[in-house]
Symmetry: C2
Subunit: 311 residues, 2 copies
């Protein structure tokens, strides 16, 4: 079987920083086209829109949608209609309910739909899942605190409805949490802090629980300067497990078990190749459903305006 | 088989107005106990809490939870653990994610879990579903406008997080819509208007669509005085179908097809008896997922404070 010919739609920061190097490092897939209104990439075939791409590059087998979530559903629907496999950056959409429609379209067309959660490919996640499967879990505490000015420069879509604000990184924590815990969880309370000039929150505190009544607390903050914190602590009957550095490092009672390099997107593309070759899809809506619950059930607080170019 | 012995938990307006007369009118089920902190019902056995009820009335087969959605999950979990069948008023919970955990508990315990959507039992709904199954749908317009002071007197929980505000009635329209349309829909945009002193919206405009790009618009308003409006208009290739009066009346191009009496809750209890007797559950989360999407994707606007005892 020849290489899968892939097009990237949306040539922004995440595509350049992560997708392009990961595709180059992955066997069985090659980048053959780009759709982006403004940006180009060397000699790679370029189209202004996904519709131009689908019309002008019929040899493309698959598309990776790296556009903001608000426009992704229509692009995914077009690509599936044109017979392409589709990879969705996270979050997989702007609404939970749009995903079942895409899943059905992929099934009918016998194409792969892959809703990626890159943090699930961090080195410590699978070892953490295996460790926790056998343990009694007493409590969970998540701290996911980063500086939006460093990680999302100029990404105004993040503050628009559907852009999710601090849940854009926070959903990464939820994607790990829902993978490593042996039982399903649900939100019980939340506080969301909206800057007075933004349609999305800049900070959130979330309380989850499960059938056993476990206390699970998450703190998301988008204004963390200095050291950045992407940690999940799980207290069990056999000590404390800590996933740190966004899941790349795993500790048990302070002793390091895993210290992985950043290879999340290579994991994504290996899995995408596997899914296409075996005719499968992989769409887990759970993290997005938790975020929707937080917006529905959360108490809103208005906080001071966010200005990107602050002093 | 003897009658199903039912307890009502939460003896508020909906229990008195709807559940009690419907139970009395339904073969195969009888009201044998009440749990309510303050209210009693004649000679029916009374308990202050659901825990007291479960301990003190072991002969009860099933419970109907008519409490506010914020407390219902814990009550449903307790009742299922005690081996009771459970009927949930709408909305079925305060979060989407809490429902799969209850569904799993009901399955494991071989008990019936019934998430009711009373408006789906209105007389015009099933005829509308059958009519639309064969038609090309061009557009849908929903107007769901009622006076909160008339229909929800003193119900302060409705303005708290999880109380849903205008979505408490609006979700009835969505429960009908998702039953009568032949294709799944998803939210594309929304505006939610929050009174400055409330944690839930008092009005909302919602845009939905489907795979075919159909325009579906809903307007929810909680400040409608004078005539009340609970209408769904569907324009098709064979004229306009209108469900009016909350689904009780059905018109085709202005000609009345169905003019039903209000028998929604009798339909609910007939179905609950059937589900218990046949060992099934019935939990459709779709309407609640659309509401969660609206809170996540919707643009928020602050409007003037809501004071129940307005001049």
């Amino acid at each position: 079987m020849g290489d899968i010919r892939l097009a990237i739609v949306g040539l922004g920061k995440i595509a350049r920083d992560q997708h392009i190097p990961a595709i180059a490092a992955t066997e069985g897939i090659e980048l053959t086209a780009i759709a982006s209104r403004n940006a180009k990439l060397g000699a790679v075939a370029h189209f202004a829109t996904i519709d131009d791409l689908l019309a002008g590059a019929p040899e493309v087998d698959a598309v990776a949608l790296c556009t903001p979530p608000q426009v992704r559903r229509a692009q995914a629907a077009s690509a599936l209609r044109a017979g392409k496999h589709v990879l969705l950056e996270k979050p997989p959409g702007a609404s939970v309910s749009e995903l079942p429609v895409l899943i059905a379209a992929a099934e009918i067309g016998k194409r792969t739909l892959f809703a990626t959660w890159h943090s699930r490919f961090a080195a410590g996640v699978e070892p953490a899942r295996i460790f926790l499967a056998e343990r009694e879990i007493r409590s969970v505490r998540i701290e996911w605190k980063e500086d939006v000015r460093v990680w999302h420069p100029g990404q105004t879509w993040i503050w628009e409805p559907g852009g999710l604000g601090v849940f854009d990184p926070g959903i990464n924590a939820l994607s790990i949490l829902t993978r490593i815990l042996p039982q399903p969880i649900f939100l019980t309370a939340a506080e969301l802090r909206f800057p007075e000039n933004c349609a999305a929150p800049i900070a959130a505190d979330l309380d989850f629980s499960d059938e056993a009544g476990t206390l699970i607390r998450a703190e998301f903050d988008f204004l963390q300067t200095g050291p950045q914190t992407w940690d999940i602590h799980v207290d069990t009957d056999q000590g404390r497990l800590t996933l740190s550095s966004g899941g790349a490092r795993l500790f048990h009672d302070g002793r390091i078990l895993v210290d992985g390099e950043d290879a999340e997107y290579r994991g994504i593309y290996r899995r995408f190749v596997d899914l296409i070759r075996t005719g499968q899809s992989d769409v887990d809506l759970t993290p997005l459903a938790h975020v929707a619950d937080a917006f529905m059930l959360g108490r809103r607080k208005t906080v001071e305006a966010f200005v990107e170019e602050a002093a």
